[in-house]
């Protein structure tokens, strides 16, 4: 009983001291709770579908951020991980009748292998060369997949993959909590010493190496971790859509993930997740469903919104909001509300 009340009071203190003092964290917590209990309010199939896909893409975008935002290895072909996992999971399920709980991890492992396969040759490349070289890999695979249509179904893909769960609400309760958990894990990785080394590699690789960091190993680690999370997203996608098709490898998907991540703000993890949850529902239902914008205009409006937001907030929307509403204490490096004049922990003057 004592232990229980200890933990309750600890978590209450944490809630009051760390979350409620900063409005953005409070809003994030409320939004998460709202989305978690959303099916109780409305079990509308279409809205749930958009939210499920947004969660899957949020994992995907955050995994891009873990690789490209943190280590600065701009990956232009992130769809490779998604597509490899989607096809692996789909083919295993379709041909060998493995259940989703087995195919998704195997698909994610395949994506990790893909991360190694493209990571090792790309170690020698830097900057723009790396970006364009990574762009090539999903397109090469796309050509191969289209050419061997007897196995992969060619350009139309193959349908008949088992669904993720019996009902839409059940799928939602698989995908959304896993998005929160995976997002939290990625955020923790990015916040750990490993994440610090990723930052160092982006800022100055030579200096990082001179400080005794095996940058090669950490860059490969970034590729593999990113592949792992993107692979989980790809596996969930194929089981949710019940179709594995070439759209999971397309150029557009690779670009899309960068758009989401940069729109939200890179090197934050929560930025890309928020970016997906703003942009994807915006396009899917606000524009096409409720404002009845014709199909060809939604993409136009979408691109214009992205353009205008990035023109005025080149660092991304969430980063911009964070910088406007919060200040970092110069002494203890903790976040404070921008209206405070003294740090909430160490009472140092905030400038």
């Amino acid at each position: 009983m004592n232990i229980l009340s200890f933990y309750v009071s600890r978590s209450y203190q944490f809630l009051r001291g760390e979350i409620l003092v900063i409005p953005s964290r409070t809003i994030a917590l409320l939004l998460c709770l709202f989305l978690l209990f959303f099916p109780l309010i409305s079990a509308n199939d279409f809205i749930l579908r958009v939210l499920i896909l947004a969660s899957i893409y949020a994992i995907f975008a955050a995994s891009w951020d873990l690789l490209s935002g943190y280590t600065g290895q701009i990956n232009f072909g992130h769809a490779l991980f998604f597509g490899v996992a989607a096809y692996t999971a789909g083919l295993l399920n379709y041909n060998l009748d493995l259940a989703p709980w087995a195919t998704i991890p195997i698909g994610a492992l395949a994506a990790v292998v893909a991360g190694l396969v493209i990571g090792i040759p790309c170690l020698r490349l830097r900057g723009t060369y790396l970006a364009f070289a990574t762009l090539a890999f999903p397109l090469i695979l796309l050509g191969v997949v289209s050419a061997i249509s007897s196995i992969t179904g060619g350009e139309r893909g193959f349908s008949g993959v088992d669904p993720l769960a019996g009902s839409r609400v059940a799928s939602y309760y698989i995908v959304f909590p896993s998005m929160m958990v995976l997002g939290f894990i990625m955020w923790k990785i990015a916040d750990s010493n490993t994440g610090l080394i990723f930052h160092a590699i982006r800022e100055d690789e030579v200096t990082a190496r001179a400080s005794g960091i095996n940058t090669t190993r950490y860059k490969l680690l970034a590729f593999c971790l990113s592949g792992l999370f993107a692979g989980i997203a790809g596996g969930m996608y194929v089981h949710f859509m019940k179709v594995a098709g070439p759209s999971t490898l397309e150029l557009l998907l690779s670009f899309q993930v960068i758009i989401w991540a940069v729109f939200g703000g890179i090197a934050t993890i929560y930025g890309p997740i928020a970016g997906v949850f703003i942009l994807y529902p915006l396009r899917e239902f606000l524009l096409s469903r409720y404002l009845h914008v014709p199909g060809e205009l939604t993409m136009l409006i979408f691109a214009c919104i992205v353009l205008i937001v990035l023109l005025f907030m080149p660092q991304g929307l969430i980063t911009w909001l964070r910088d406007k509403t919060e200040k970092i204490c110069p002494r203890c490096k903790l976040q404070n509300v921008a209206t405070r004049s003294k740090c909430r922990v160490c009472t140092a003057d905030l400038d």
Binding site: T128, A131, F132, I266, L300, C304, P314
Partner: protein
């Protein structure tokens, strides 16, 4: 078969070379990865269609107008959009993709998804070594050669050309030497857009126009400039010919070649940069001054 490969290869490579050199120029001078580059090429093709076929203007006049409009669009998008966010590398990528998507969707809205075609500038065909070659193909290749030589002469012999090259080598020193760097970047953007527009004008009669026609050339241009070495015009030229011919060889010789053409071309690119990470003729940029 072999004749077809050679002729199609030459025409395709020439068009790729024009696109890649424009892309390479603006990258070299302003360090801007302009992913909207091939969207300008598509815009030119569609403008010619709308001016010549829909509005019924003279074909030559509409080609000229199309090129002018594309150059203005390019310069405006540089001045109003790209120049403002260019120090953020990832943001530049997204913004240029957004520009390309905006162009694509605007064309989709204006012309619909149905494929369109543009009349040939000159019709008929000539027999060369016993093979019938479309006159349009000969014209395309001729103009490509002419433009390549003209660009080379411009960059090597004129004062502006030298200024552009020195800006590409070292912005800050060029600035110290009294070169107006922003104006040089603007000029380069105009040249780059003009080259894309000419490529579009030359290719329009040989292809069908669809609003998605910019993605495949974009991938090829990216592969070409990486293969040849970023910022190297000679590299872009040679890269264009290597990948242009590789694509045609695959189309004609391999089973299900039209699926595999991009894969093979990109694989060649990967192999080359694995052996030489800076591309065939890449200049190893020294660390840019912070």
């Amino acid at each position: 078969m072999a004749e077809n490969i050679i002729i199609n290869g030459l025409v395709l490579s020439g068009v790729y070379a024009l696109l890649a050199i424009g892309f390479s120029l603006i990258f070299g001078v302003a360090r801007i990865v302009n992913l909207a580059h091939t969207a300008f090429y598509m815009l030119a093709a569609y403008l010619i269609y709308s001016l010549a076929v829909t509005a019924g203007l003279n074909l030559y006049l509409s080609i000229f107008l199309a090129i002018v409009i594309v150059v203005i669009t390019g310069m405006l998008s540089y001045r109003l959009v790209i120049a403002r966010i260019r120090q953020h590398e990832a943001t530049t990528l997204i913004v240029t993709i957004a520009l390309a998507v905006i162009l694509q969707e605007a064309l989709l809205k204006g012309f619909g998804g149905t494929p369109r075609s543009v009349p040939k500038i000159i019709s008929g065909s000539t027999e060369i070594f016993g093979v019938a070659v479309l006159n349009q193909q000969i014209l395309t290749f001729g103009i490509v050669l002419l433009l390549l030589v003209a660009t080379w002469l411009f960059l090597m012999k004129t004062r502006t050309g030298v200024a552009i090259r020195s800006t590409a080598q070292d912005r800050e020193v060029a600035n110290l030497m009294g070169i107006n760097v922003p104006r040089m970047e603007m000029t380069t953007m105009a040249i780059s857009a003009a080259l894309a527009a000419v490529a579009g004008a030359l290719v329009a009669p040989l292809l069908v126009l669809t609003p998605g026609m910019w993605t495949h050339p974009l991938v090829m241009v990216l592969a070409i400039v990486v293969l040849g070495g970023l910022g190297s015009l000679k590299g872009s030229l040679i890269g264009a010919f290597i990948l242009g011919f590789a694509e045609n060889l695959v189309i004609f010789l391999a089973p299900s070649g039209s699926y595999l053409k991009t894969s093979v071309a990109l694989t060649i690119m990967i192999i080359v940069i694995l052996i030489r990470p800076e591309g065939l003729f890449g200049v190893v940029f020294e660390e840019e001054r912070g």
